[in-house]
């Protein structure tokens, strides 16, 4: 039986891992990329389109099991694909949380059913994310958790954290950190600064992140555990991670798209769409995060996608649930940074492809080399479209972009050669 062949022709290919940024053809044989063209291949004309490795997201809330009034694996993976994503890591904060192999299998099975095979669950570091008792980390890892995390949920004390890291290091299991000191962040819902003061909103100081991050870095150094820092939000965090990398610690970091395009000034008028964790910080922080991408300290941009039902956002700001539904708008948001000259297109695409692939150790993804998986995204960088709640694929009703024109639209998204 001969495998199906596809040739994508006339498109502009950006493959940061192989330093490709030019018009060239891409050939697919079955589910992999092939260096050789097949004369009988189906042709996709990619004139005016940019061809990149499929985007990889390091943090998506799929909401299933347990929170299916907010989103389902079927709806949110469809949204992911519409946004150009071909692989994603999902957070453990489902109900029940991802602290047993049964939940891991359920999520992976539902991903397959939704024709989105590259769902990578992040296991809960502690049972029920309670910060006290370790989950069966080895079993979680074996059943398919690509890494483990306690999200922003606190550990009971530093001893529990140290033991969790030692245990994970024993089996070379990667740990995702989302540093935030629970006491310093207590009841906060906005970056602590002049905006939180003016609006009278309880603040989350930058030190809530940097104090936890500093501790985590010291314990990572002590235990030798493989560590990734997700969704860092402030200038000082970029500095701390750069210092750690400079002294030889192999830690990686990502930033959420919302922290690159919004700041705390967007909270004026109490628009609860901008209630998000980590909070939108100052313009100086935003610029430091951009600089962190350019210098390579931050190697990935994640969606931090968090869909909600309408009621979750219909209350005074502090009483609403945090999060933005971002999967379908991440590409146009990133392109605004490119159009403003803050990031180059290659820098932006690297943070969605080879950057996150290297964080997760996915050798055959995030790049378009020979024998890589045929996970490919094609988008038109100048096409305008309007995002709205009726036509969005995500169940999330929480986007500040509803009704607004966006520039940059995904045209095709192939997963394992199928699209």
């Amino acid at each position: 039986m001969t495998e199906k062949s596809i040739s994508i022709v006339n498109g502009h290919v950006i493959d940061p891992q192989h330093n490709i940024d030019q018009t060239t053809d891409i050939h697919i044989s079955g589910n992999t990329i092939s260096s050789a063209a097949n004369n009988n291949a189906e042709k996709i004309d990619a004139r005016d389109l940019i061809i990149t490795p499929g985007f990889i997201d390091l943090s998506v809330n799929l909401c299933e099991p347990g929170l299916t009034h907010k989103g389902s694996i079927a709806s949110e993976t469809t949204a992911a694909r519409a946004g150009g994503f071909t692989a994603l890591a999902c957070t453990p904060s489902t109900r029940p949380v991802i602290d047993s192999s049964a939940v891991v299998r359920l999520i992976k099975d539902k991903g397959e059913e939704a024709n989105f095979p590259h769902v990578y669950p992040l296991g809960a570091m502690t049972k029920q994310l309670g910060g006290e008792q370790l989950s069966e980390l080895h079993a979680l890892n074996e059943s398919g958790c690509i890494a483990v995390s306690n999200g922003r949920n606190p550990y009971k004390n530093n001893r529990v954290l140290l033991h969790a890291l030692e245990y994970a290091a024993t089996f070379n299991i990667q740990v995702f950190f989302h540093p935030q000191d629970i006491e310093l962040a207590e009841n906060g819902c906005a970056h602590e600064g002049i905006m939180s003061t003016n609006l009278g909103l309880p603040g989350i100081p930058a030190s809530a992140e940097t104090v936890a991050l500093s501790r985590d870095l010291l314990l990572v150094e002590q235990t030798g555990v493989r560590a990734h820092f997700g969704q860092i939000s402030c200038a000082k965090s970029v500095e701390l991670i750069a210092d750690a990398q400079a002294r030889g610690l192999s830690v990686t970091a990502d930033v959420a798209i919302s922290n690159l395009i919004f700041t705390d000034t967007d909270l004026a008028g109490y628009n609860s769409d901008f209630h998000v964790q980590p909070p939108l910080r100052s313009e100086a922080d935003r610029q430091a995060l951009i600089a962190g991408i350019k210098s390579g300290v931050i190697s990935a941009i994640c969606s931090n996608h968090q869909p909600h039902e309408p009621a979750a956002k219909q209350a005074p700001f502090a009483a609403t649930e945090a999060g933005i539904s971002t999967l379908e708008t991440l590409l146009p948001c990133g392109l605004t940074l490119v159009n403003k000259g803050e990031l180059s297109l290659v820098e932006f695409i690297r943070c969605l492809t080879s950057g996150p692939a290297q964080v997760l150790g996915l050798d055959k993804q995030g790049q378009l080399g020979d024998n890589a998986l045929a996970n490919i995204t094609l988008f038109n960088p100048t096409e305008g479209w309007v995002y709205n709640s009726e036509t969005s694929n995500s169940m999330g009703h929480n986007s500040p972009f509803f009704g607004r024109e966006l520039i940059g639209k995904v045209r095709h998204c192939l997963i394992d050669g199928v699209g």
């Binding site: 609006l199 009278g200 109490y270 209350a315 005074p316 700001f317």
Partner: protein
């Protein structure tokens, strides 16, 4: 007006008040109009028949999601002197404790066809939230939202200052105490700066100052001797007991020793300086009894002017609503 403009909600297209949510963004002339209107209502309280018919036939609901006696009562008196029908709803002990959302509560109350909601709520932005969702002809008055704003309190304080000091432009005003948690202080600072006060000072330890307080258009002092030097007005804030539990202060005694307003400390201020406090006062915690009851204290005048200021705001917002309705 942009949706980010704080006034897109509270002003009509011609710049009239239709809700009263915050001092932020209001012009000096509008604040002066509120004070002038309030002046015209002062005498109503001295008459044998203490009512004017401005809001006859209007229904006003006092929606207090947080307990309050004085503010609710003065709003009620203000509304009744304007001949409105007033309904007091103490919601902290009814609907929301049964799990009803603010939006559901609001929709139920709207179905009872009210003309105005006076709202106090523990969440900053609650009055904005309601004003953004009420049916068009209903006015919303913020009676205190979280740590954000308490604009009628600030305006009655401005009225007190104007009545006793005249013009604002040569005045130095010190606000003392728990500024971090105070919606009153935030609104006072905005009002004083809009009305052109020469200097606004904040006096507090760092634990009781909000983040970036220096960006509020104030000068910051950590001690009373330098902070009160040559000021014209001293505004003391109430200190809540729970500030001691969260390690913001060591003890009431230490706070009183450092920041409590005594005759001795008041001597740093100008000889004719006046003393104000939004109440209720904690004698011996933030203010000495002799000062609270002394001849320079305007604390009880504030309460009296509070009724006139609230009459002004209620009548102006209602007429703004009427004006903004298409005929």
């Amino acid at each position: 007006m942009s949706k980010l403009d704080p006034n897109h909600l509270q002003l009509t297209n011609s710049g009239q008040l239709k809700h009263f949510l915050t001092i932020e963004g209001l012009s000096q002339s509008l604040l002066t109009e509120i004070l002038d209107t309030a002046e015209s209502f002062i005498s109503v309280g001295d008459r044998a028949v203490k009512t004017v018919p401005l809001l006859r036939g209007k229904t006003i609901m006092n929606l207090f999601f947080e307990a309050s006696t004085r503010t609710r009562t003065t709003f009620e008196i203000a509304a009744k002197r304007l001949s409105a029908d007033v309904i007091n709803l103490n919601i902290s002990t009814s609907a929301t404790s049964k799990g009803e959302s603010l939006l559901d509560t609001l929709q139920n109350l709207e179905a009872m066809t009210s003309d105005m909601f006076i709202v106090r709520h523990a969440n900053s932005g609650a009055a904005h939230f309601i004003a953004d969702r009420v049916t068009p002809q209903v006015a919303v008055i913020n009676a205190g939202d979280g740590r954000h704003a308490h604009p009628t309190q600030a305006m009655l304080d401005m009225m007190t200052i104007r009545r006793h000091k005249g013009d604002f432009k040569n005045l130095t005003v010190a606000i003392v105490g728990d500024i971090a948690h105070s919606r009153v202080a935030r609104s006072q600072i905005l009002a004083l700066n809009t009305l052109g006060a020469a200097e606004v000072r904040l006096i507090a330890p760092k634990t009781l100052l909000p983040a970036n307080a220096d960006a509020l258009g104030v000068n910051i002092y950590y001690d009373m001797a330098s902070g009160l030097k040559d000021v014209d007005v001293v505004i003391m804030l109430r200190l809540q007991k729970e500030r001691m539990q969260s390690a913001l202060l060591p003890s009431e005694q230490e706070f009183y020793r450092l920041y409590g307003l005594t005759e001795e400390k008041l001597a740093y201020a100008k000889p004719d300086a006046v003393v104000m406090h939004p109440g209720p006062i904690n004698r011996g915690v933030e203010i000495q009894s002799e000062v609270a009851d002394g001849e320079r204290s305007l604390i009880l005048n504030q309460v009296t002017y509070g009724i006139a200021v609230r009459m002004a705001v209620l009548s102006m917002a209602m007429s703004g609503q009427t004006e903004s309705q298409p005929n």
